[in-house]
């Protein structure tokens, strides 16, 4: 049976190109241009999925992105198999593999369908009422079972090898939707010269016109008119047409996000093609031309495979050349279904009956159907549809004048078409925060007042007659272009033979005969929400439509209520005894249709996940085999192992080398800000806790910065280059924040100060040369500059050159040794580094990393902001009270520092800790208590902030923040660890060279 339901001569698929694909392992043939759904239907295959809760057999209901049932996984392998794709959107290609979901062992026979039998026990919200006893069963039994039963497809288990792209764009006019209204709008705007983007979610522009065999535009068949318009648009350089591209998010200020699918439809995409592209389009003006969706009807068995929307059957026939069955029964509340009947009839499908819910329908279309010999049953409803994996018959029944339903009559049918009328697609309009208005005439919500610079056109605002749609689209295009500053003329077209738009429509559950306590009439197909569930929710007091949605899960399936919302609303309104417009709608939440995570992430993966900042010395360190760590955006060398050294061994060696000879360290990541201007010192006085006025030119000072709340924010050495110029350094991670904070105060509080701030972090490479031999190594290199202890004492700076390269040389130390920080232009950093490296060979110069830097500074009791301090420490807490000027009237943080709580004696203060066993290195973050035998919860006094083995001292050392710590020096405290307690002695935080003798040499 190959494509037995293909109708020769119909449809837009390429009859010359047959493609082979598999579904659930079975080979099928389709034609190029088919969707998976149309190709399966061409083979007479309706069963495409199983529902979420009851595992009911389901066929395709729609032909578009509103499809709730026919969800499949496409692709093969643990990385590529993509779950939950709609068969109605998946385009077939040679070799496509698709499988059904949520069934075991197979789609035809699914054990989970037993849930249908248990359905009476599984009404809406049943899980809120059960599974509570015994308590321990929830985690171990009930929930795992529920979880396994839930879910739809299977997530990939291996990394996605595809890549994704991202693009920002600006345009004058964005048109969302390329049906008749959108095409007309795009052409009108495009002809004006405006930059236009026209996006449509399907593979081909034209929308409903591609399924329309009746209408003539300017005397041409509608589909040929589409081709004409597309050709003109393609020739306009200012118009970009994007197909397979869904406008899915309408954000504030006319930022509309589009998701373009680039390779999914290709058998063999070029390897460098991104799979999808995410667009963020800032449009001056937007035209929404999203069309309208047909509603299903709610009756017993409306979910049987073979029951589908009338418009879908029309699309499958006219666009794809597929007859969805052999014998159709149509149930409608709208005139448009008669056109479907006529098209099917003309294609040789038997239309057994057309049941019209309206008591006295009358339209030209209906008369045409009758004229064609079709049976029209006015005032007739459908009582139920029969079948399991395919519908085989229905019961139609008269709607009696008293509102009851007469006795049913059986009709054989393998195809049941539903038409409940059309619902305008107002999703994007609603996302834009436009206000919806209820249209009494149409019985639906349409766009009311706009919030953004947008207008809707065509069916998405309830304009259905083709001539009106084209005019509406053209007018919208003219208006949008005009609002964007382009004068446009509205094109016009003559429409002949088009059907008058449908009248009528239905929202809610169809009346039925009998109570039907066991009947299942589905509102939300995928989530298995029935009309009874909605009524139950109302019965249980859920009166808001949002509550009803949440309690029943209607509208929360992957179609996000496109298929279900209006019917749910109708049933709820009926149960609440309130008109539909008083009940209201649930919020339309983006995205319009699901969007791949990878498209959002786009290029931001691997090394491009975040900027990777590297210093000029980085390649050298890499060549030396350094091990790196991430510090904010920077990559810093952590240690330089030799041979098989681990970190501990390397760090011991590096520490001893610095203390005993000379080490070289890349400090380029330090933040650097040049503070310049006549008021530079005044500004520094206000920003830092220290006093700067008296700092001489050529001198340095340790600067400490608080936030206004009095807590330490950053620190760093500041050098005074000139009377009006400070070279400020910050911590590596703090630089952007410090500059932003400085700019904030300068621009907004003290604009009277004449100061400029410039980030120079990346201008300078900074080479720290530390150790007793540092001067001997450096002196020959600095082009005659006197760097003796007398000429350049500790905490001073000088400008000069090093090998001809301009240099700011700081005599500073974060190690406690004689030290220099050589600042040179970043471009010369590597060369200067290597020159020093070469010169230091005789002295045994040793490169060291951040870990050794941490150990050395801890031996000296120097804090690291963010390690000793954590945003709750004052300068005094951190042992830096000495840095705080006592004479300045004001600085940032000063007022907060005088709060009583900031002076409390039990504040946590910086201390040193020594373990009894010299080899025992405490764990950073470990807690300190006075009484180790105390029961939990213990009274904690503080925590270990830094802890290392000091090779220099031959023992472990630690820094800690301890409540009232400075008064506890000499006390024994305890570190309770898992299973044991470590006793420690509180010390002052300086472990090495307390007098600083080694600095001043």
């Amino acid at each position: 049976m190959s494509q037995a339901f293909r109708v020769p001569g119909r449809g837009r698929v390429d009859s010359a190109r047959t493609v082979t694909f598999t579904f659930d392992g079975r080979r099928f043939q389709g034609q190029a241009g088919d969707t998976l759904a149309s190709a399966l239907l061409a083979n007479g295959h309706h069963l495409m999925g199983r529902s979420f809760k009851y595992h009911r057999a389901r066929g395709v209901v729609s032909a578009g992105s509103d499809e709730p049932n026919a969800l499949v996984a496409v692709g093969s392998g643990p990385a590529l198999q993509t779950p939950n794709l709609r068969a109605t959107q998946v385009e077939v290609y040679e070799g496509l593999t698709a499988v059904s979901q949520n069934r075991f062992p197979c789609l035809q026979f699914d054990l989970g369908a037993v849930n249908t039998l248990a359905a009476p026990l599984l009404p809406a919200g049943f899980y809120y009422k059960t599974f509570m006893w015994p308590r321990s069963f929830w985690d171990r039994v009930y929930e795992p079972v529920i979880r396994r039963a839930a879910g739809l497809g299977v997530a990939p288990t291996a990394p996605d090898p595809d890549h994704y792209a991202f693009q920002y764009a600006h345009c004058d006019v964005l048109v969302a939707g390329a049906g008749p209204a959108g095409l007309a709008a795009a052409l009108a705007a495009g002809r004006s010269g405006a930059q236009v983007i026209l996006a449509d979610e399907t593979a081909e522009v034209g929308g409903s016109l591609l399924s329309d065999r009746t209408s003539r535009i300017d005397g041409r068949p509608a589909a040929l008119w589409v081709a004409d318009i597309l050709a003109e648009l393609a020739a306009l350089p200012n118009v970009r047409v994007l197909t397979r591209c869904t406008a899915f998010n309408y954000g504030p200020h006319n930022m509309v996000a589009l998701n373009q699918r680039l390779t999914e439809h290709l058998a063999d995409p070029a390897p460098d093609m991104p799979r999808e592209r995410l667009w963020q389009v800032r449009a001056k003006e937007v035209v929404l031309a999203a069309g309208a969706l047909e509603r299903p009807l709610v009756f017993e068995g409306n979910d049987r495979p073979g029951v589908m929307l009338a418009s879908a059957a029309q699309t499958y026939l006219n666009r794809y050349g597929v007859a969805c069955g052999k014998r159709a029964v149509i149930v409608t509340a709208d005139d448009s279904a008669y056109r479907v009947a006529l098209d099917l009839h003309a294609a040789g499908v038997t239309v057994a009956a057309i049941a019209d819910l309206r008591p006295a329908p009358d339209s030209a279309l209906m008369r045409a159907a009758q004229g064609a010999g079709l049976t029209v049953l006015p005032g007739t409803t459908i009582q139920r549809a029969h079948g399991s994996t395919r519908v085989h018959s229905v019961e139609l029944a008269r709607l009696l004048p008293d509102g009851s339903v007469g006795k049913g009559q059986h009709w054989r049918a393998d195809l049941v078409l539903m038409s409940g009328g059309y619902t305008p697609s107002v999703h994007l309009f609603s996302q834009s925060r436009g206000k919806l208005a209820f249209d009494e005439r149409l019985g639906v919500y349409i766009p009311g007042e706009s919030a953004e610079r947008e207008r809707s056109a065509g069916a998405c605002r309830g304009v259905y007659a083709l001539a009106d749609v084209l005019a509406d689209g053209a007018a919208a295009g003219v208006a949008a272009a005009g609002a964007a500053g382009f004068a446009a003329d509205a094109p016009s077209w003559a429409v002949d033979a088009a059907d008058a738009p449908g009248r009528g429509g239905y929202a809610g559950a169809l009346p039925r005969r009998g109570k039907g306590l066991l009947a299942m009439a589905f509102v939300d197909f995928q989530n298995d929400v029935t009309a009874k569930d909605v009524k139950l929710a109302v019965r249980e007091g859920f009166r808001s439509i949002e509550h009803i949605k949440r309690y029943t899960t209607t509208g929360m399936a992957t179609d996000q209520g496109k298929m279900s919302n209006v019917n749910a609303l109708g049933i709820a309104a009926d149960a609440l005894g309130r008109p539909v417009e008083k009940v209201g709608l649930t919020t339309f939440r983006p995205p319009f249709t699901p969007v791949t995570f990878g498209a959002f992430a786009s290029h931001a993966r691997g090394d491009l996940f975040d900027p990777d900042r590297r210093t000029p010395i980085d390649p050298w360190a890499r060549a030396q085999g350094a091990v790196f760590e991430d510090v904010s955006l920077w990559r810093r060398a952590r240690y330089f192992p030799r041979g098989s050294e681990d970190m501990e061994a390397a760090v011991r060696r590096e520490c001893l080398a610095v203390r005993g000879g000379v080490g070289i360290f890349d400090a380029s990541t330090l933040g650097k800000i040049e503070v310049v201007g006549p008021d530079a010192a005044t500004f520094m006085n206000r920003m830092y806790v220290n006093a700067w006025t008296k700092l001489g030119v050529g001198k340095c000072r340790y600067g400490l910065m608080c936030r206004e709340n009095g807590f330490v924010y950053d620190d760093g050495v500041v050098g005074r280059i000139a009377q009006d110029r400070f070279h400020v350094t910050t911590t590596t991670g703090g630089a952007p924040g410090v500059l932003a904070m400085m700019e904030d105060y300068l621009q907004t509080e003290w604009p009277d100060l004449d100061v400029w701030l410039t980030s120079t972090t990346e201008e300078w490479a900074v080479i720290a040369l530390q150790g007793p031999s540092a001067r001997a190594v450096l002196a020959p290199l600095v082009d005659g500059l006197d760097i003796s202890a007398e000429a350049l004492p500790h905490m001073s700076l000088v400008e000069g050159t090093i090998g001809g390269v301009p240099m700011r040389l700081f005599r500073v130390s974060f190690t406690g040794e004689l030290g220099f920080e050589i600042n040179v232009p970043a471009r010369q950093g590597r060369a200067v580094w290597e020159a020093i490296w070469d010169a230091g060979q005789a002295a045994g110069i040793t490169p060291y990393g951040t870990e050794t830097m941490h150990v050395l500074r801890a031996e000296k009791g120097y804090i690291i902001v963010g390690q000793e301090t954590d945003g709750t420490a004052t300068p005094d807490d951190a042992g830096c009270g000495w840095a705080v000027s006592k004479v300045k009237a004001d600085f940032v943080g000063k007022r907060s520092l005088v709060l009583p709580a900031m002076q409390a004696p039990d504040r946590r203060q910086l201390v040193g800790l020594l373990t009894e066993a010299p080899w025992e290195v405490l764990e950073e973050g470990a807690q300190l208590v006075a009484r180790p035998d105390e029961a939990i919860p213990m009274h904690v006094l503080g925590h270990v902030t830094s802890s290392y083995f000091s090779a220099t001292l031959g023992r472990s050392i630690a820094l800690a923040m301890v409540s009232g710590g400075r008064a506890r020096v000499g006390e024994t405290l305890h570190v309770p660890m898992e299973g044991r307690t470590i006793a420690v002695t509180v010390t002052k935080p300086v472990f090495y060279d307390v007098e600083g003798a080694r600095l001043n040499v």
Partner: protein, 101 residues
């Protein structure tokens, strides 16, 4: 993503900017003369209005200038932006209504 008019550079997308919180909260000229209560009012207490807010933005990835904006926090619609140092402008009722719409 908001579209923000930097008074110096023109309209740019929000990702170029850093929000600076409520505007027109001047740091007291002499903080040390403030009571604890007054200081807390300056430092922490905010109007957090549902409606028109005067707020600061910094064109962080642009000119790096701070400026002020009036925006309705119910709609995120900007009424105007203006240079730092200018007093908060009076806005007429029609403009306010438009921003709230």
């Amino acid at each position: 993503m908001l579209l923000i008019r930097c008074p110096y550079c023109g309209e740019r997308s929000e990702i170029e900017f850093a929000n600076g919180g409520e505007a027109h909260i001047a740091r007291p000229a002499d903080p040390m003369s403030q009571t604890d209560e007054e200081w807390a009012q300056y430092l922490y207490m905010r109007d957090n209005p549902k409606g028109l807010i005067a707020e600061r933005w910094r064109h962080a990835h642009g000119c790096n200038r701070f400026f002020n904006a009036l925006r309705d926090t119910r709609t995120d619609r900007f009424v105007m932006t203006y240079e730092m140092g200018r007093p908060r402008p009076e806005i007429d009722a029609a403009t306010l209504a438009e921003a709230a719409r």
